[in-house]
Symmetry: C2
Subunit: 343 residues, 2 copies
Amino acid sequence: MVVMKDVAEAAGVSTATVSRVLNKSADVDPALVSRVMSAVERLKYKPNLTARGLRTQSTPVIALIISDIENPFFTSVCRGVEDVASSAGYSVMLCNADGDLAKEQEYISMLSSQNVSGVIISPASYDSTDVTPLVERGINILTIDRELPIDCDAVRINNQLGSQIATQHLLSSGARRVACITGPRFASTARDRLAGYVQALEAAGLVAEADLQFYSDFKDEGGYHAIGLLLEMEDPPDAIFVTNNRMTTGALHALKEFDVSIPDEVSLVGFDDLPWADIVSPGVTTVRQPTYEMGTAAARRLIERLEGDDSAPQTIVFDPELIVRASSVKTRTIRQPLKRKSV
Amino acid sequence: MVVMKDVAEAAGVSTATVSRVLNKSADVDPALVSRVMSAVERLKYKPNLTARGLRTQSTPVIALIISDIENPFFTSVCRGVEDVASSAGYSVMLCNADGDLAKEQEYISMLSSQNVSGVIISPASYDSTDVTPLVERGINILTIDRELPIDCDAVRINNQLGSQIATQHLLSSGARRVACITGPRFASTARDRLAGYVQALEAAGLVAEADLQFYSDFKDEGGYHAIGLLLEMEDPPDAIFVTNNRMTTGALHALKEFDVSIPDEVSLVGFDDLPWADIVSPGVTTVRQPTYEMGTAAARRLIERLEGDDSAPQTIVFDPELIVRASSVKTRTIRQPLKRKSV
DNA sequence: TTGTAAGCGTTATCAA
DNA sequence: TTGATAACGCTTACAA
């Protein structure tokens, strides 16, 4: 393997000079610069990033810890992060913690051993995710989507607002009993989205009934299962607000399987847009988040920190947008009884 | 920051002994072991992976270079790779080359600078992707999905077989003129899948007409656009085989927009399963690949190499599976004219 | 079994 | 402006 020493010898200079040329860290005689560069070219020298990392105590790597790589929300965020990071010279280390606290903790520990420059994390839990190993090593942290009870940069959407506009929309489209399927209690997003739904109901002069609120898991199965419970109710809802995309997918599976017609028997609004929301019939009304932009914003903010910005931590809040499609607009005004037709 | 020297002093031993204990690289007196371990515990020592990497000339990192992180195929593969890698103690560095040759080449160069242990790559191009920077550094390479004209491990599906069963199925379900929308010429998968389609037609005694074969881009837009072209034809097809999932999505968009009824006016089969293939109406018949298993197989094979296996390179070929849904099974036998109804 | 010390490939300090 | 040289934190001959 060709190392810096080889380049130095070939160019007839010291390794210090080669390093200066490569990093533009000091003025070097133009003649030497060109000798060095041509030697680099000729020998196809590539700097050893590990050695550089040991010396400088940092590597140009940003870690991204997420809870579900198969969720289109995260893949889009991931693309945003990756695009900004790589064009700024950073690589992205992807860590899929799978919503598993232990796995997440292992990643956090591992990353504190690697000298990664910064970490973007969508924590599995508000209370239990422990990032102190990173903090102790002085590694910059930024939360995305979900928050953490520490003082750090954050990028998220206005979750309450998103739920409010979704719920309001359902009510103004003729719904009278709106149910909400939300995520696990330990996720800040699940709580905020449920809160927005409750607020919208109350603002409309309605009572938020506890038996119309379902805590689930943000996964397909959870949405599927919750629909099963809903359909068994004495007085079932005529509209459902599902607070993330994977549960919306599960809900659609269940509704199709039980042959429930949307939107006449039950209206549906999901949180997070879906790539195929307008291919299905009826199209699914969703609260869209600017996922890619959230990813780029996160990476940009973190990189600013890495380059020395030490201003107070900042929370960047994006606004959601309601994409109205057919699933939430009732075509008949006669209330249909919502009952399971087939099992 | 606490380093090995601190642990050594706290335990009253040399750094060499600490290292031996931590790596179990030699027998150490049990008494010293426990002294070292408790010092590690007490000081919360974490080994510096960069330093170790410099010394051992390798880091426990596997890079994954893919062309489209938003494609469910790759996210699933990615999960498979990640699961196996992380349980074997490797981190995964995700590189989304976006199908862009220049970006891909930059990643390859960067990775050869980092001392990654191995690279799993789905190359952007059969001919133009150049992995020599990795080969020169002795970094292990494994291709996934698409192949490369070098002698290395590979994991892929039997593409020709997949196309054959898809095409045969369309023919036996009543289709008479089957079109094929495939990917770019420079992708081995695009060529192989087209070849399988041609073979199936010929095996059925039909001629593979050139004007029914479309080279596209494996992206949504490509599928959408191709449908537009198809609908303009003098003698349009009564069935379409689309060779990847994103183009299938685009095709469905177009068919819905132009109000073409599936499967009566045109049958449809896609390659790669879709998470929502059975939510849409009609459900989409697809050729399913065992994506997660392909990812785990790839990671396992690569890690075997990293741990010293130097047997001859091996290609692991998986078999596709046809998932028949309603999009490919004609309900009426009367041939419907396929014409665009709205624009 | 344990310790000493060299060295991995850089960058950064200090003289010249 | 340039060059010796000492780190960076770890692993591993080699000695003891």
